[in-house]
Symmetry: C2
């Protein structure tokens, strides 16, 4: 990818969300944010780097835990403000020990699942 | 879900990203943002509602195009600032006509794929 093309992903802001999906299972593991430098490092090294909004620093996923993510594919979306990254995940992706960070089922919805769209305004 | 529990998803900000995944294929279709009201409408109606940052208004995905998303599951992540929504997608998810919004391959990376992590600092 040309540097100019990469630049276009950061026109709206300095951070963009990156959805991390396990290539083998299709499971969505986590979402984290990238700035331009973390995307460049990810592209260059083949392992995920993110930008921590709370710590305000770059972090290499798994550098401490060993639960690294080897990158198999990086895709941008239609309007170039989100990334989808297919990885091979070593160990759990979540700091809680869960394989995926998405483990909280929001249950109230289930009672109305499958109903016709009442508010298609 | 209790209203108090729902409230926790909007403690850090008024908008959170929602990853939309096709339930049948596992394909990640798009990412859009939800405020509390759009999440409530999604939970209540069983179809996706988002908040448009550019237009600053709620929108019901597919209300114009007919390409609606019937919700099968809503999951929150470990720190309650991202949603993963499994849907049954009618037609293409992307306004370009692509099934998924993620169709831009970032290719420079491919040349270094699979290399050992050189920057595991």
């Amino acid at each position: 990818m040309e540097p100019k093309e990469l630049e276009r992903y950061f026109e709206k802001g300095t951070l963009i969300p990156a959805v991390i999906q396990e290539a083998g299972t299709g499971e969505v593991l986590m979402l984290a944010y990238m700035n331009r430098e973390s995307l460049e490092r990810t592209l260059r090294t083949g392992y995920t780097w993110f930008y921590s909004r709370s710590r305000q620093e770059l972090w290499n996923k798994g550098a401490t835990s060993g639960h690294v993510q080897r990158v198999l594919s990086v895709m941008g979306d239609c309007d170039r403000d989100t990334l989808l990254i297919q990885v091979e995940q070593t160990g759990p992706a979540c700091h809680t020990g869960s394989h995926s960070c998405f483990f909280r089922q929001l249950t109230q919805w289930e009672a109305t699942a499958g109903k016709e769209n009442e508010e298609n305004e």
